[in-house]
Symmetry: C2
Subunit: 384 residues, 2 copies
């Protein structure tokens, strides 16, 4: 590996969004220095990182600089160019999760095949080399069409109940799968070390927005019988063991109306569903991720309290520099913990922050968190 003139930082992160920001924040408390790679000059993690490499996620020089000037490279987004990263790894760069795990996850079809081959319960699925009406019909309706690449937060997913919905079909390379009769959406957060040691948090119940499928809220722990709770945790661990993944992973699960669990998809990084662990667990997901990728002992996942988290998204009709009109109304809500990500610009649906409330009763927590959010009004901000 070529030596660089930069001193070696502890941590490199591909992507400089809020996940990188919160990772860098926690890293600093462990005495660790972080470098982020992100194309945006004003990315959310920029001012918390020691250094910011302004480059796109597939910029070979930028990725090389990131990997070569840090002890371990990780992700805030599953968007690094896996081939370039594989090359850097072969030259001795340490990258967790590994480029091969990243490649498996980046392509939803490859991910599904991988999970199926490892005996994990996934809905029936098929490659869809071309989105011809006959191909959908032959798979059978209702179905879910998923873009193989680049989908997230509900983007790149189309639910087709019948041929009447064909105008909504995606045109990018995609796969199709059977629609599960979802009773509840869950997530298992799993942290795993290079030696295979792993921990899993209590299961989180996710409440995605009906229209956009972006996470609207969650409660922690999910209220369900102990057996299903344990089975969901075991499924999460099994998926990450199969991947031989290192780091923290969110394994999104479906519980269907018959009480059966299915693996939906895996994120190879800290996850929106894990923000609640900042306040509600003995060790938060960001520290757990750092411990995993730095091969340190994993922390306790003990739930300190039941809790709820809601996302704070950019409102409709506002596209540009924004600020909260007034903090008072939201902060009046008992126990509301506000986390804004330092983003200057808002656009409709952009993740600007989140709110967490701890309460022994998760429904009370959820109600308060939602109430606090309705009181948080974003308005346009004149640039100084």
């Amino acid at each position: 590996m070529t030596a660089s003139s930069q001193p070696l930082a502890d941590l490199g992160i591909v992507g400089g969004g809020q996940l990188a920001r919160m990772t860098a924040e926690r890293a600093a408390k462990l005495g660790l220095k972080t470098v982020v790679l992100d194309p945006s000059a004003d990315c959310a993690a920029g001012d918390l990182a020691t250094r910011h490499i302004e480059a796109s996620f597939d910029d070979a020089d930028g990725l090389r600089e990131l990997v070569e000037t840090t002890r371990v490279t990780t992700f805030d987004i599953e968007a690094g160019d896996a081939a370039i990263l594989r090359q850097l790894e072969s030259e001795g760069g340490k990258i967790h999760p590994s480029p091969s795990v990243l490649a498996t996850i980046q392509d939803k079809l490859v991910q599904r095949r991988f999970l199926a081959e490892h005996g994990l319960p996934v809905p029936r699925f098929e490659d869809l080399p071309n989105a011809a009406p006959e191909a959908f019909a032959s798979f059978g309706y209702p179905l879910v069409q998923k873009a193989r690449h680049g989908g997230y937060d509900g983007r790149g997913v189309a639910v087709l109940r019948s041929a009447d919905d064909l105008d909504r079909a995606l045109t990018s390379p995609s796969m199709v799968e059977e629609q599960v009769a979802i009773a509840r959406e869950l997530a298992a957060l799993v942290a795993r070390r290079p030696n295979g040691d792993s921990v899993v948090y209590d299961i989180v119940e996710l409440f995605p927005d009906d229209a956009t499928h972006v996470l609207e809220a969650l409660v922690f722990p999910a209220a369900m019988d102990e057996q299903t709770h344990r089975a969901a945790q075991d499924l999460g661990r099994a998926a990450i063991d199969a991947l031989d993944g290192v780091g923290i992973f969110a394994v999104e699960l479906f519980l269907d109306t018959n009480g059966k669990l299915w693996v939906n998809e895996i994120s190879p990084r800290p996850h929106n569903a894990g923000h609640v662990t900042i306040e509600a667990a003995a060790t938060c997901q960001f520290e757990q991720h750092l411990r995993a990728i730095l091969d340190l002992p994993l922390g306790s996942t003990r739930a300190v309290s039941a809790a709820a988290m809601v996302n704070v998204l950019g409102p409709a009709g506002l596209d540009g520099n924004a600020r909260v009109r007034e903090l008072s109304p939201a902060l009046e809500v008992p126990g509301a913990r506000l986390h804004l990500y330092g983003k200057t610009r808002s656009w409709p649906g952009r993740k600007l922050g989140h709110l967490t409330v701890l309460d022994p009763d998760p429904d009370t927590a959820l109600e308060r968190a939602r109430e606090a959010r309705t009181r948080l009004e974003f308005v346009a901000k004149e640039v100084a």
Copy 2:
């Protein structure tokens, strides 16, 4: 007030140590920008603040710039020049706690007189214009001599049991007071808004180091009967009401061997004793401070869990750039939450960080926090 070319930041802080660092960190989560004034180029808060004014705490130009370029100015240390700040306040600058509160607190004799005049229980005390042996004898041994200015963390305090201890007497302007037969040392953390609304956390029990009197550890909440607990909280509130203080304050208390409570001293800022609230309370002391000085609704002080905190101090025999040798041993301790302050240099006794452990049993929490600390070894670091 003269307009400056700088855009107005939300928050100015006199002092850039770890308290400013943690305040700036929480401020960012509320979408607020922070400017710190500190003479050290590498002060702990520097890299989390939007701007760092490098100036001493009595630099008139620096303080003016801080006050005039921020919406409200506050403190990380009770060391700003009160006369200069009073002038800036009279010109319209908003400063909380006010320069007059600061002046009352900065001089321990003035502080004692103030508390006594407001009927708060303080040990018998006297001014000591000159430290002649007869003056001590006439006050009566055993006594505690305190420097009027600049003492903290056990500095500026001498306990004289008899005339035999006179060689330990302080030579700076000082006061003397009766030695209380201390059974326990406590702290009440009180946050108070401009309109007089206030909240108080559960009482913390402090364990200062016997030799240096620097805080070694604490448990939260202090294990004591409800009546004494409430009385300690009431005393804390009464002291800050008397001061008409705005912000967060730590009111250090003694519980004597007869079960009587005494006010020891007041800190007009976030306090080492309040770090435990980061994880263990519904709202942490830093956010509470921000809410108070920005005149926002105060947060819930509810204890989420019992907890303990220990300070991490620079070890004896190490003076220079330092790093933790290895994180693993400390992180193996269940539930240990490490907070390092990003300080490059260590010297014996310097506050480098703290460790918090949450556990339903505070003794278990304390034991684990201390165990984690013994496993945290600092070693000299070659500068890159």
